[in-house]
Amino acid sequence: MIPETGQFALILALLVALVQSSIPLIGAARQDQAAMALARPAALAQFLLIAIAFGALMSCYVTSDFSVLNVVENSHTDKPMLYKISGVWGNHEGSMLLWVLILSLYGAAVALFGQQLPPGLKARALAVQALISVGFLLFILLTSNPFTRVDPAPLNGNGLNPLLQDPGLAFHPPFLYLGYVGFSMAFSFAIAALIEGRVNAAWARWVRPWTLAAWAALTLGIAMGSWWAYYTLGWGGWWYWDPVENASFMPWLCGTALLHSAIVVEKRDALRGWTILLAILTFSLSLLGTFLVRSGILTSVHSFASDPARGVFVLALLGIVTGGSLLLFAFRAGKLDGGGLFAPISREGALLLNNVLLATTAGAVLLGTLFPLIADALDLGKVSVGPPFFNAIFLPLMVPLVMVMAVGPFLAWKRGDLAGALGRLKFVLALSLLIALASWLIEGGSASPLWAAGGIALASWLGVSALLEWAERIKLWRAPLNGLLTRIWRAPRSAHGMTLAHFGMAITIAGITGSTAWKSEHIQVMHSGDSVDVATYRLTLDSVEDNLPGPNYTASRAHFTARKDGVVIAEMLPEKRLYRTPPRQTTQAAIHTNMLGDLYVVIGEPDPKGGYVTRLYYNPLAPWIFLGAVVMVTGGGVSLSDRRFRFGAPKRAASAVTGRA
């Protein structure tokens, strides 16, 4: 009964989406208020129906209803409750349901909170959003029904891939989808604006919060995935340039560019066509990622069971959405010309350079990801594109980007004073070189690679300049201290947000540099009682316990004691687990962090003489990689709370902007 309810709700959602995608659009063309107003209740109803379907599937998982094929294939009664729930989106069908749930969630949010949007723009944007829903709901109902029954029902299920049974990974997909599906909202606004043939500062102001929300969620989602890889794959790495990682990273790069170019549209009414194009491209890259993962045309660990029929369907959707919107763009782009002029050295100029570098990086990652496929089609023979290629293209693009990132906020709009800005940054430059030199000396001088000092210098350059810009904004030195808190409170939240986001980026860069350059790694066979010195720590293997029972696995657990200068600082318990259904081995690294670095311990295979292979790492600054991402997300959140994005604000703001521009 419950699965059928879910399926009926999905079919009803499809019908509602059909209505939502057509009638408001026609209404907007005819200026028919009643037809346009239909978009709001339709968007809410659509979300409600999809939520019912999602709830139905979740209830099948929670109660282990093995008459549902999807539950049989991906669940098991022994699985802890958390993973029964996360199992809902740990498979192709369920994750597509989550996909449309989030798509309709954004639509419903615009319907609820977009009271101040012009009715035409709102009706069109919600109609476009529903059009995407129609495509994906059809996809689910026709090729990937999660509610298919199986008769007779088996006694138990096949279980979830043990690698996915991890608290960090349980919530990685929802955030990832909140991110890249969330870019659909900017896309829908872009298409609505193209249909209207009008893009202005007010439009940018309406689009920015949705882009910002999606960007923050995607940043968090990617960071969670990377963190998961760091602590479960068990060899201290955190990014592998796998096609599916790239699939989420490309929309991030493009979305970051969009976030910045929308500011230029909002403040200066320039880069309008480019911003629309970025909105289209960002969501198209999300769709492309979905296509790559679901069709199996590239091989990756993340791939769901692939099926060419599904591939054809998603490719058709990609063709309609991206092809159609780029065609519309080609016809309408001419109308978007003009807008504010600016000198190359200006805030706009810096943001444009940031956009060019980000878009180039996204393009290069796309090329690297698809190169095996293109080479195959052109009979160029066998090509493999691995991490070396990506690292080689990524760094030369990121270094200038970060250098500009520090200077940009110091430049004025329209015409900036580069010499003046650099003059104010002289002290930052000196300080970052000093920090780099100090860190290089601390890490052993000539023994540590020179580029590491460069990375630290870059991170300090960005971080310190972000703080300096903030200090100048709140007049930390120029005005009396007693009004300081008021000045901080009065400053635009989006400015605080920028400081946090840029500073978070600096933390991440420092983390990447430190953990790559100064990692110490010790691999050896250890017997109980053996000690190994790792960096400034001494790790002692006390014992290894075998056959420890877990809910659906058995584990070997090692007891390590970490000492520094003879003082015990941590007990570390890495595990090796053997899951029962499906049978598969996983490693659980034990990590002790002091926020300046991670002591990272993995227990490997036993050797015949009663010892164990152990891998002991000290990863300096590794926690900063993820900490930086959290700071960036916080910056996004703070910026989102800016009063000019709040409900009721856009209308007043719109007139204010036209006055200022």
Binding site: S295, G323, F329, P372, G381, E521, G604, R615
Partner: protein, 179 residues
């Protein structure tokens, strides 16, 4: 007014769309992305000499493979599918001369990986810059090549092994070549 620069994104997209369609059409005809045929089947293996992964072990040359049925397995520590394949390689113990090639890998990373995952190989060589990979036509990792006693490549498997492939194809072929 249409001006050509605004058509560039559309043109690029259509090009990509074409590639995707071609790929899907090929997949519909049974040509999966992993099924890469090698032109080297029944050809002599390329001559090579590679340093050992673990210092103190002998170097590996093409001559060392003569006279034994050998499975050459390309792997890398940065390759996640290799992790999935790795336990299956241990099941080949005693049935074939298993040689591992650490492909485009830093020696320390590959050693760490072998240390953690176990060593099913009789010998492991380091192909740090992927030079031997080019000669074998390695497309990605993991890839495996079965070589007969005369040093000819008899079989290539250009993706991670699965138990069915090992049972149904690889082991019977090894048995036949070992007669």
């Amino acid at each position: 007014m249409l001006r050509w620069p605004v058509l560039v994104p559309l043109a690029c997209f259509l090009l990509l769309f074409g590639f995707f369609t071609l790929r899907l059409v090929k997949m519909n005809h049974g040509d999966m992305p992993n099924d890469i045929t090698t032109v080297l089947i029944d050809k002599q293996i390329p001559p090579f000499a590679l340093p050992p992964l673990f210092e103190g072990k002998p170097a590996l040359t093409s001559g060392d493979l003569a006279g034994k049925v050998t499975l050459v397995n390309f792997f890398a520590s940065w390759c996640i599918p290799c992790r999935a394949e790795h336990p299956l390689l241990a099941t080949l113990a005693g049935k074939v001369n298993l040689v591992g090639i650490a492909y485009k890998n830093e020696a320390s990373d590959a050693r760490a990986w072998i240390g953690a995952m176990g060593n099913p190989y009789q010998a492991i060589a380091l192909d740090r810059d992927g030079r031997l990979g080019i000669d074998f036509g390695v497309y990605g990792v993991p890839e495996s090549y079965l070589i007969d006693r005369q040093g000819r490549i008899r079989y290539a498997w250009k993706k991670p092994f699965d138990p069915d492939e090992i049972r149904d194809t690889l082991l019977p072929l090894i048995a036949e070549l070992s007669k």
